[in-house]
């Protein structure tokens, strides 16, 4: 869709071009306004936080708000975001990698090994990408709770592990990954399953663009389904993986609904849920809230800044046009 082309000669006269720049700069100011407020409010010291000067640049830069948002405050009675930030990493990294792998294999089969019914299966899978998740939440919670009952012995065994005191944190940490209701493992399962449609879509479109002759040639050379994937398609897949990984990382990191429904304990909550709790309590000052919001946005923002090009591709794939 994007095509490099010869620069088009400028046709508009100067005043009109000035107007274009003026509008674009005003629009950019609108888009950057919240970032400006986030930054200056978060960077102000507690003495300087004053509503009358909320738009003014801070006189003394202070990271105290960030420290408070990260660590929380026992005295004021609110939890910091550090724990949930880590939870989000433990959740997002494995869920992203697993769903990228699954999507790659599904996409490969649907693009190069079409079978009777695959034309129905593919759109049927895609539908899962658009459903309002409210329509699956009730049975989802029930099923995860049921899985929790089944995996209880496993969690219990983990918790009863005899480990040196220095490693006492390890078994409970590991128990959080047993997929069930109220665990990080349960959330990973949910994100992997509901990530199947989009990852399959992106990879299928990606592999569809790879000439089938390559696959046919490998077949003639005696390669089978797995061999072709391993030696022909997979080595060509890196750009596809980058797009899918960025897409999944961003959407899982930013997810709120599943985190809210599946994790009730603060110990396993992802950062979006923790941020919402932080911002929802009236005891937390605005500058701490803004610092917290920036912390929650930072990982995906960094990815966007560094890998923006691939981010774009994922976005446009999300609109079904590869």
């Amino acid at each position: 869709m994007t095509a490099s082309r010869l620069p088009r000669p400028s046709r508009l006269f100067r005043p009109q071009r000035l107007l274009i720049y003026l509008i674009l700069i005003l629009a950019a100011a609108f888009f950057l306004l919240p970032v400006y407020v986030l930054l200056i409010t978060g960077l102000k010291s507690f003495q300087e936080v004053n509503l009358a000067t909320m738009w003014a640049w801070p006189r003394n830069l202070s990271l105290a708000s960030f420290a408070k948002a990260w660590n929380g405050s026992q005295a004021e009675g609110f939890r910091g975001l550090s724990g949930s930030f880590l939870n989000s990493i433990y959740l997002t990294v494995p869920a992203t990698l697993i769903s990228a792998m699954l999507g790659s294999i599904n996409g490969y089969v649907l693009a190069k090994w079409r079978f009777r019914g695959s034309d129905v299966l593919f759109p049927a899978m895609l539908f899962g990408m658009f459903i309002p998740y409210q329509s699956i939440l009730i049975p989802l919670v029930q099923v995860l709770q049921r899985i929790g009952q089944i995996t209880k012995p496993l969690s219990a065994t983990l918790l009863a592990l005899a480990v040196p005191p220095a490693l006492a944190w390890f078994p409970p940490w590991l128990a959080n990954f047993v997929p069930a209701y109220g665990t990080i493992g349960g959330l990973i399962l949910v994100h992997v399953v509901y990530g199947i449609p989009i990852t399959t879509l992106i990879f299928r479109n990606y592999y569809a663009a790879i000439p089938t002759e390559l696959v046919e040639a490998a077949k003639i050379d005696g390669a089978g389904l797995l061999g072709i994937y391993r030696w022909v398609l997979f080595p060509l897949s890196m750009p596809g993986f980058v797009v899918v990984i960025i897409w999944q990382f961003t959407s899982i990191w930013n997810d709120f609904l599943f985190g809210l429904i599946v994790t009730s304990r603060p110990a396993v909550q992802p950062i979006t849920v923790a941020l919402n709790n932080l911002a929802g309590s009236y005891i937390v000052q605005w500058n701490v809230q803004m610092a917290g919001a920036l912390l929650a946005a930072l990982p995906t923002l960094l990815i966007y800044i560094v890998l923006g090009r691939f981010f774009m591709r994922g976005l446009l794939a999300g609109s079904l046009k590869g």
Partner: protein
């Protein structure tokens, strides 16, 4: 030949786990939710006594649900209008071979990388109106400092609903033709909802821009040149050539943005919650509230099915259309 057969089976085996997962977690779960919506399950403990469509009939008589529908219509209409016009406008401007294109594109698109929760928290602060005692906050304060004090308003805290008054001429006219019920705040436009629209547009209009920009870049220059040779003005070129050629993009954008707005939840929770007098309440939030806080599972399931139905009406034709387009290619 034997190898090929084995590979056929293997290929189906590879996709089976995902297919089964989708079958269970999407279609099975939807089926269960649909079933639950037909029961009288109203506590933590499932009660599968069949009651038919009673929950649905009841829902449409509940004030909160009626207001939610009004708010969803307000939100969807203004959100689509704002995103499409801002997105198209920015795309056209960026397409004029300007300096710093990459920078502008980056600035307009970065909100897409951010969680709706972060957006909600930030815009709640920006649009917090302030009180008599504290003076103005946020954007109101900015207006004040810029000498635009008349623009100050209560944003999402002012429970203003624009609607046709039953005493107005139009209201009386409507009554006389039997449409008096329209002159009611339930058929109005919720002002607090527009604050949420501002935040959502901030987040999603860059995406719309990216879609339009990709579309604009796909239109060959020869078309414009030919029109120019024929004496068409720049405006005419856009009106009669570019905009019609971008119709598929507009359609995609309407579907994508529309289904987001029908499902909107995170942003509302983080920014306003239900709002004063349910003025920013939406079905997805009502569903969460009544199901997971109130344990009215059958009622929640009913709301979920209604949202799903509306989304499906939008999405399924689109999926079929996309699949057909692909076959043609």
């Amino acid at each position: 030949m034997r190898r090929l057969n084995r590979d056929r089976i293997l290929s189906i085996a590879l996709i089976t786990p995902s297919a089964v997962a989708i079958l269970v977690f999407v279609y099975g779960f939807i089926g269960f939710t649909g079933f639950a919506s037909l029961t009288q399950w109203d506590t933590l403990f499932p009660d599968y006594t069949f009651v038919g469509l009673r929950n649905y009939a009841k829902l449409f008589t509940i004030d909160r649900f009626q207001l939610d529908l009004r708010n969803t219509v307000t939100f969807t209409a203004f959100f689509l209008l704002a995103c499409l016009s801002v997105g198209f406008g920015l795309a056209v401007l960026i397409d004029q071979r300007i300096k710093g294109e990459g920078l502008f594109r980056g600035i307009f698109l970065f909100p897409m990388a951010i969680s709706f929760v972060v957006t909600g928290v930030v815009w709640r602060w920006l649009l917090a109106p302030g009180t008599e005692q504290t003076g103005s906050y946020g954007v109101n304060l900015l207006f004040e400092q810029a000498g635009l004090g008349f623009l100050r308003n209560g944003w999402y805290t002012a429970p203003i609903i624009w609607h046709i008054s039953s005493e107005s001429t139009l209201g009386i006219l409507l009554q006389s033709i039997g449409l008096g019920f329209l002159a009611n705040s339930k058929f109005g436009i919720s002002w607090p909802m527009l604050s949420v629209v501002i935040a959502a547009t901030w987040q999603m209009s860059g995406y719309t821009m990216a879609m339009y920009l990709a579309g604009l870049r796909g239109i060959p220059d020869e078309l414009r040149e030919a029109a120019r040779v024929d004496g068409a003005s720049e405006f005419q070129i856009y009106r009669y050539i570019i905009v019609p050629l971008l119709t598929p993009i507009t359609l995609s954008a309407v579907i994508i943005l529309g289904h987001i707005s029908l499902k909107i939840f995170d942003l509302v929770v983080a920014m306003t919650g239900s709002g004063p007098g349910f003025s920013t309440d939406v079905p997805a939030f009502y569903m969460f509230d009544t199901t997971f806080r109130g344990n009215h599972f059958a009622e929640g399931a009913g709301i979920a099915m209604i949202i799903l139905l509306v989304v499906a009406v939008l999405i399924i034709p689109y999926l079929i259309y996309s699949a057909r387009m692909e076959v043609q290619q």
